[in-house]
Structures are given as structure tokens and as C-alpha cells.
């Protein structure tokens, strides 16, 4: 501990050299009023000799005045900083504590544990590597332990210490401890698959297993809390990740210098490295890594630097400079987990400001798909999110942003939501994935653009999206149409559900999730084909409205033509060309559209085909007439 380092007295320069190279561990402590959390932190500070005599004197006098430990020192008073907290004997807000040992420097986020302070705990967890979960040995794993475990792992912490405290009150019983740990492991499986869990029996009040292993628990063979904290590896996986630097400030001291200042959030960078500026996707090469103490040969994650580029490309605050080999994706629609932090509930459909890295955009937050019960970890229906509630929802942004999923890079996937009227921070969000790639984003600036490619073919690109029940006649009509188009000298291609499932999508089944992915892939292929200037015929059941909307959004304005092949179920079932309805009715095929999986008919299709009263050839002619009318063959 601090005073025990003889170097301080004998060779201060050597001590400072050593201290300068100590690693920093940030951890969070989670517990409720009477779990002994404050006592533990007070104990860590006290045992690390981080408490000075004058502070100790204040502590002793305060302990007698308002303490809960009789004549003994109430360590909790050391860390409850606000007058209101001391008076009420509770912790309200996140407090940050600092201490150092011979091996490491520590920053502790001390957070309250009650459900009403979920937002405070999430804030503390956002920057921590390790979470200490306080468990009262007399009470075992409680609802709140589950909640704390969930919140800390949600925010990305993977190293959990299960601190089974107050072992002195259960006679340091190994059996009690083992039972608690078993309980914990049983539900920890639900949290994440890559957790590293370290259980420790302790008594914060008596100092048992805090700084060193104690005799009271001679059956325990693991590390003391301090031994664990001093030795747990601090992940530098950010160093091995691909380069990312959000631009905070464009540095222009004079006309001859244009640099981009920011902090590297992941990876490393060297002069000569190829980079892209996102979202524009413009490419350049790193010229210099500028710092006040001279140019660097290499910049690494965590450093604040200024980059200059070899080319004059457009790059401003909020953009992200990324490795050209592995750029971020760019999107304006996401699925995210959101923790609501405001007294006024989330208003789905309202526009909030969203700040991610150094970028602020306007975001519409849609109604949650579902909420998550932080106590049971189960999904619950939710129309909105109240203070401290967590839910999964989608967001639409007014412009596309570069991002990484939160689980890959906290800085590139974590955002806050700001109320535009009050300016309060009302929500915290974690990007899971993009719903679609923004259509106005070009990864590569193409010399041969899509207009040129289509012009060469004497046509305008279009995606004819045939939707309808199995056996409704989609593929038959698409075939007839393709023949007509071919005869007119048009360049076409047909994507058929059955055929694509044999190749590109052979890994997908027929669950709702797989159906969505099936359509996502096909829509993207159709998009590429229309980029090539083709008229693409897509023949897929595509039962869900939202996925067809997703496909529509992917295409350029006016290029998506939804063709609803409207065949009633009984007619399709009577035709049963492939014999599938029979099997589905017999229960041999699960999730069959129209039988035990829903079909959502289009609300405003460009074309509706009545197959009961028209032949496939007539239907194809109707579509051809529509295309002519819309000027699709005129260039």
C-alpha cells in the first residue's frame, strides 16, 4: 500500500518512475443501502492509506454524530459526499474515488443500488472494466443482484466480482458461501456467454479477504479482493481493433495547415496508412501525426492527437477517420437498447437529439419493440419507456452516421439522447445493428455511375417486387413478364425465392427472424442489380410489410414497384402446385405462410394483380403497360 512502499522514502525518483508506469483499473461497485458497499470502499481507501489524519478526525467525529456503527468508525460516511446523503444515510449519485497501490492505480465508480438509481449505475458502468457485486451473505442472491449484474453486463462489463459480504454474520460458513455462488452461476448464464466471474467471501467491516486472505475463511483458496483488483488483466483489445478516431475539432492555425484533432478510440495509426473519412467514404493517406511535443511515428488507442492527410478531402467535426481496410458501416436506422433516464417518459415518434462520439444528429425514436424487466431479465410489453426502464427499439436519424455495434466498440456504438426543449440528457443507448444501409451513402466514388450503366442499356433500372401467398402465381407472372421484356430488348434478371434459398440463403430457415434476414439479403442483391442498370424481378412471398418497406427504402426513389399478386388463400390452396399446403395442413411443414404464419397484404402497392379473373400473360401485359406509362424505357 501507499505508505509501505519504501521507495518513497529512499528513492523518490525511482518510485515516481514506477508509479508512472502503473496500469489504471476502473471498476464499479454495486450494492444497496445495507450491503456494506460504502463500508467496502471506505475500507479499501483506509487500508490503502488513502485517508489522511484530518479526514480521519472528521470521520471519527461524524461517526459519533450520525454513524451507524456505535463507537466504531463508520466508513460509509467517508464516501457519502452530499449533505443530503449523509443525513438520509443513502447514496444518491455516482461518486468517483481514487486510490493507488504498489501495482496499480484505481478509479472507483461508487453507485447506489436501488432500482430508482439504475441510470446512475449505468453511467458508472459505462467507463468501468470490472464490476463488484455486493451480496449480503445472510440474504444471498436477491432480485437486486440480478439487476446489478444485468445493468453492468449490458453496458459491456465482462469481469464480475461476486463479493459475498458480511461473512462474519454467518460464522464464515463455507456452505452458505457455496450455495450463494451456485445460485449466481445458475442465472449468470442468461447474461452473457463470455463472462469472467470471481466470487470472494469477505467481511468489509472486519477487513476479511479485503487486502489479503484471512484465516477466518481458511477453506477459501481464491485471491483477496485487492489481489484480484491488482492482477486482473486490463484488456487492451482496443489496440488490436481497427483504427477509429472521431474528429472533435478541425485544426486550422493558418492556411498552410489543416489537421483533424481527436482521441483514438480503437486501433493504431502510422503515417502512410490508408484511411477513409466516414460517412463520405473519401479516401486518403495519413501524412503526419502531430502533437505539441513533436510528430509521432505511431498513434495508439487512448491518445489525443492531430492527424494531417495527404489529400484535401472533406472532413469535419463529427466525422470519423477510420482504417480504409476495415471502415465502419454507415446507416441512419438502427436497432438499439435504450435506458431511459428522464422523469418524463419516452415519447415514441418524437424527435430527440442524439449525440454519438462528437456527432449530434436528430433522431426519431420509435415505440419500443419490447421492454426488459431488469429484475427477471425477461421481455415485457412496453409502449413507452419510463425513468430507469430499459427497452429495445428502433431509431431513424435525419442523416447517416458511421458506427460500430456497441459490443464491438463502446465509443462508436454508445450514444445519449437529449431533449430538444430542456436540453436534459434523457436516454442512453447502445447500437446493436443497422436496419439498413443508407441509400445516399457511396462507399466508393464510382467513375461509372449507375445512371451511365443504365443508359448504356437504354432503360431505367427498376425492381419489380412480386409479393403474395405461396402458389399465388408470382413466379409464373414474373416469367411471362421477363419474356415480354426480353422481346423488347430490355436487360432483366429474376430473383426467385426457391432458387435463392438453394444458394445465398441456404443457411436460413422459416422462422420470423430468418424470413426477415432472407428478405434483407435479397433486397440488397436487388439493389446491386439495379445499380448495374438491370430491371430486376423479385419473386418472394415476403409476408411482412416492414421488410417490404425496408426493401423499398433501399432502392432509389421511384425504382421500387410493388406487385401484389392477390390470390385468396382458398384459391392458392386449391391450386397447391407444389403440394406444400397439404403438407402444412398435415403439420409436416411449420411456419407456413397463410396457415400458421401470417401474411400482411400490401396497403398501397403500385400494381395489384387479380389472378382469379386474369391469365398470367394478361397480368404480365398489365405490368409492361405500367412500366411504359411511367417512362421506364425512355432515356
Amino acid at each position: 500500500m501507499r505508505l509501505t512502499d519504501d521507495l518513497i522514502a529512499t528513492d523518490i525518483a525511482a518510485y515516481l518512475e514506477k508509479h508512472e508506469h502503473k496500469s489504471l483499473l476502473r471498476f464499479i461497485t454495486c450494492g444497496s443501502v445495507d450491503d456494506g458497499k460504502s463500508t467496502l470502499i471506505g475500507r479499501l481507501l483506509y487500508d490503502s492509506k488513502m485517508i489522511f489524519e484530518d479526514q480521519l478526525a472528521t470521520l471519527e467525529s461524524d461517526s459519533k454524530k450520525v454513524g451507524t456503527q456505535g463507537e466504531n468508525i463508520d466508513f460509509a460516511l467517508l464516501v457519502d459526499g452530499l449533505a443530503a446523503e449523509r443525513e438520509q444515510g443513502i447514496t444518491i449519485d455516482v461518486a468517483y474515488r481514487f486510490f493507488a497501490t504498489d501495482k496499480r492505480k484505481f478509479i472507483v465508480a461508487d453507485t447506489p443500488g436501488h432500482e430508482q438509481y439504475t441510470r446512475n449505475m449505468a453511467t458508472g458502468a459505462s467507463t468501468a472494466d470490472v464490476a463488484i457485486l455486493m451480496v449480503d451473505a445472510r440474504k444471498g442472491i436477491l432480485t437486486q443482484t440480478r439487476r446489478h449484474s444485468f445493468i453492468t453486463t449490458l453496458l459491456g462489463i465482462r469481469k464480475l466480482v461476486v463479493a459475498v459480504n458480511k461473512m462474519d454474520l454467518v460464522g464464515y460458513s463455507e456452505q452458505v458461501y457455496e450455495d450463494i455462488i451456485e445460485d449466481f452461476y445458475a442465472f449468470a448464464d442468461e447474461l452473457a456467454t463470455d463472462l469472467e466471474i470471481q466470487p470472494i467471501p469477505m467481511s468489509a467491516l472486519e477487513g476479511v479477504n479485503i487486502t489479503s486472505r484471512s484465516n477466518e475463511t481458511d477453506w477459501y483458496e481464491g485471491p483477496s479482493l485487492m489481489e484480484y483488483l491488482e492482477n486482473v488483466p486490463v484488456g487492451n483489445k482496443r489496440l488490436n481493433a481497427s483504427f477509429r478516431m472521431p474528429v472533435q475539432w478541425v485544426n486550422r492555425p493558418n492556411l498552410d495547415f489543416r489537421g483533424f484533432s481527436g482521441q483514438i478510440t480503437a486501433g493504431t495509426i502510422k503515417p502512410g496508412d490508408r484511411v477513409k473519412s466516414m460517412p463520405s467514404g473519401k479516401q486518403s493517406t495519413i501524412d503526419r501525426i502531430v502533437t505539441a511535443t513533436g510528430d509521432l511515428e505511431e498513434g495508439v488507442a487512448g491518445q489525443s492527437i492531430t492527424l494531417t492527410l495527404a489529400d484535401e478531402i472533406d472532413c469535419s467535426r463529427g466525422d470519423v477517420i477510420v482504417s480504409a481496410d476495415d471502415p465502419t458501416e454507415v446507416s441512419d436506422q438502427f436497432q438499439a437498447r435504450i435506458l431511459w433516464m428522464s422523469e418524463s417518459p419516452l415519447l415514441p415518434g418524437r424527435r430527440y437529439l442524439l449525440k454519438i462520439g462528437s456527432k449530434t444528429v436528430t433522431a426519431t425514436v420509435n415505440a419500443p419493440k419490447y421492454g426488459i424487466d431488469v429484475n427477471t431479465l425477461s421481455d415485457i410489453p412496453a409502449k413507452t419507456l419510463e425513468l430507469n426502464q430499459i427497452g429495445v427499439t428502433t431509431l431513424s436519424l435525419d442523416q447517416a452516421i458511421p458506427y460500430d455495434p456497441y459490443d464491438v466498440n463502446r465509443e462508436m456504438g454508445g450514444f445519449i439522447l437529449i431533449d430538444r426543449m430542456t436540453n436534459d440528457t434523457v436516454g442512453l443507448g447502445l447500437i446493436d445493428f443497422a436496419l439498413r444501409r443508407a441509400s445516399n451513402i457511396h462507399w466508393q466514388a464510382m467513375d461509372m455511375d449507375r445512371a451511365t450503366l443504365a443508359e448504356q442499356k437504354g432503360q431505367k433500372p427498376a425492381v419489380l417486387w412480386f409479393t403474395g401467398l405461396s402458389g399465388s402465381g408470382k413466379s409464373t407472372i414474373a416469367n411471362a413478364l421477363q419474356k415480354l421484356l426480353f422481346a423488347q430488348g430490355k436487360h432483366t434478371f429474376t430473383l426467385d425465392g426457391d432458387n435463392v434459398r438453394h444458394g445465398l440463403n441456404r443457411d436460413l430457415g422459416f422462422t420470423d427472424a430468418d424470413r426477415v434476414e432472407n428478405i434483407r439479403r435479397v433486397a440488397n442483391v436487388a439493389r446491386l442489380m439495379s445499380d448495374a442498370g438491370l430491371i430486376t424481378l423479385v419473386s418472394f412471398i415476403s409476408p411482412f410489410r416492414s421488410e417490404r418497406q425496408m426493401a423499398r427504402n433501399l432502392m432509389a426513389e421511384g425504382e421500387f414497384i410493388e406487385v401484389y399478386v392477390d390470390t385468396p388463400l382458398d384459391v392458392a390452396e386449391k391450386r397447391d402446385v407444389k403440394g406444400l399446403y397439404k403438407k402444412a395442413r398435415a403439420g409436416e411443414i411449420k411456419n407456413f405462410t397463410g396457415i400458421d404464419s401470417p401474411y400482411e397484404p400490401p396497403q398501397n402497392p403500385e400494381i395489384t394483380i387479380d389472378t382469379v379473373n386474369h391469365t398470367p400473360e394478361e397480368a404480365a401485359q398489365t405490368i409492361l403497360d405500367y412500366l411504359k406509362e411511367k417512362g421506364m424505357f425512355e432515356i
Binding site: G81, A83, F257, G259, S261, I416
Partner: protein
């Protein structure tokens, strides 16, 4: 600092001439290099600072090419407010807290950097890096904005302002170590030297000018002392020391058994006094 420069309309850096300010200033020079930091420095001068601090301040600002704004509460000066005549509480309120509010209102700054650290004091440990103040400059500890990761919400409404503490997560040892590593110049008062001191209210204070009451100044003795923090000379306790190098200071600090705020007369009144002062608009 870059976030503030990019997002706030009219920022200022509060420069108190102390060691934390020295580090903050140094970091600002680095953060914007090769540009110059795009904000002025401001010093709220209570008129009772050590003379060496004022000399150092003026020289440093000139050397680094900063605009230096010095604000003095002239009302207080006219009323003759000072620590010897009015006591530490009134003096600090009028010449420091009120003066700071006057200055922020006068220049309409919407963001002010300060060198405070969370390890200094219990209520600071719960303060955000971006700390919001109402139009009346009040801090409401119950209405602090959550501050996850390093994403800072800098938005404010008309009249409100934000105090920004870039050194929040630094410890006293970090500060000293950085001063040593970066060779940052600090006011010589931090180093031990023979200085004339008198004992006032149980604390050794330095005789810095002739405004000290004569009967008190008469008791001066020369001791080898240094200062762990710097403020108004009558309110800043000296510690007896022979540490005249950075290494010696750090060594002394690590081996000492009292906290750095102990030398500050303003904190001893009541244990929640800092929290109260902050709510009233003090830094």
C-alpha cells in the same frame, strides 16, 4: 477542452495561478497545437493573492500569448472587504464568489474551465465533468446530467452556463507527477524557502504585504516553509518544510498524513461547506 471549443459559443479558462491551473493551461496548449487555444484566460483577483502569484500570472499569460482578463469586485474594494477585517467567510463570498458571478455575467461566458479535481473534496467527487449552472449560477446536485462514456451533453438554455473540469479524474499525485514529467513551471511559493510567517487563528500565514495588521505582523518569524495550495495569502496556511525540489515536494506529500485542503481556511467552518458554496455559485 476540444468539445467545449467546438460546441460552446463563448468559453473562458479560469486561471487561478495554482499548480492545477498550470497543468490545465499546459494541457490546453497541447490540445489545440499547432493552433492556439481558442479562448481567453480569466483570473478572479480578490486583491489578496500573493504578490508572486500576480507576477507569475502576468508573465505566463504574456509568454504563452493568451488574452488575460482580470476581474476584481470593485464594490468589494470600495467597501474595503478583506480577510483581516471581515473574516474569511465574508471575504470569500464577496471577493471570490460574487466576483466570479459578476465576471461571467459581464463577459457572457457560456462555459468556464476550472481546475478542480474529484479527489479534493467529498462533494466534488459527485460532480460531473460538465457541471451545469442555472442563470443564477447555482449548482443543483440532484439535477446533474448523466455522463456516460466520454459523451458530453454541452447544450444549455439562454443564460445558463457550464463549468467544465478537465482534471476531474486526476489525483494530487497525478498533478505533481505531470508537472515533473512535462517540466511545467509553477509559482515558486510551492517550494520551500525562508519566509516571514505569523501564526493567525492557529495557522502559519505569510507576511506578504503591509495590509496585515501591524500588531500581527510584528510577531513575524522567518521559517523555511512552502504552500501546498495557493489562494489569498491571509487564508493560505504555510507548512514547515525544506522541500525545495519537485521530488522532495512529492516525497513529502506522499509521506504526509494530512490532506491538501487542510491548509485552506475556508473549508474548516463546516463539513458540507464546499457543497454549500458551490450551490451558491462558487466554483
Amino acid at each position: 477542452m476540444r468539445e467545449v471549443a467546438a460546441e460552446c459559443e463563448n468559453p473562458v479558462m479560469l486561471y487561478s495561478v495554482g499548480k492545477d491551473s498550470a497543468v490545465m493551461l499546459h494541457l490546453a496548449m497541447k490540445a489545440f497545437y499547432p493552433s492556439r487555444p481558442p479562448f481567453p484566460l480569466m483570473h478572479v483577483d480578490t486583491t489578496w493573492k500573493f504578490r508572486e502569484m500576480i507576477e507569475f500570472r502576468d508573465r505566463k499569460a504574456k509568454e504563452l500569448g493568451f488574452d488575460l482578463l482580470v476581474h476584481i469586485n470593485e464594490d468589494g474594494v470600495r467597501q474595503g472587504v478583506g480577510p483581516f477585517t471581515h473574516g474569511s467567510a465574508v471575504h470569500t463570498d464577496v471577493m471570490k464568489t460574487q466576483a466570479l458571478k459578476q465576471a461571467l455575467n459581464k463577459y457572457k461566458f457560456d462555459a468556464a474551465f476550472g481546475g478542480a479535481r474529484r479527489d479534493e473534496e467529498k462533494s466534488r467527487a459527485k460532480e460531473r465533468i460538465f457541471s451545469f449552472r442555472s442563470a443564477e449560477h447555482r449548482w443543483d446536485p440532484k439535477r446533474q446530467r448523466p455522463e456516460p462514456w466520454n459523451v458530453y451533453n454541452t447544450r444549455i438554455n439562454q443564460g445558463e452556463s457550464v463549468r467544465v473540469f478537465p482534471l476531474s479524474n486526476w489525483t494530487e499525485l497525478d498533478i505533481w507527477q505531470y508537472i515533473r514529467r512535462e517540466n511545467i513551471e509553477i509559482v515558486p511559493l510551492y517550494f520551500a524557502a525562508p519566509r516571514p510567517v505569523v501564526n493567525w487563528n492557529g495557522v502559519d500565514i505569510m507576511v506578504d504585504d503591509d495590509r496585515m495588521p501591524e500588531e500581527l505582523a510584528k510577531t513575524a518569524v522567518t521559517k523555511s516553509v512552502r504552500f501546498r495550495t495557493l489562494g489569498c495569502y491571509p487564508l493560505t496556511g504555510a507548512v514547515e518544510s525544506t522541500a525545495d525540489t519537485l521530488e522532495a515536494i512529492i516525497q513529502e506529500m506522499l509521506l504526509t498524513t494530512t490532506s491538501e485542503r487542510q491548509g485552506r481556511v475556508i473549508d474548516v467552518d463546516q463539513s458540507a461547506s464546499m457543497e454549500k458554496k458551490k450551490q451558491e455559485g462558487y466554483f
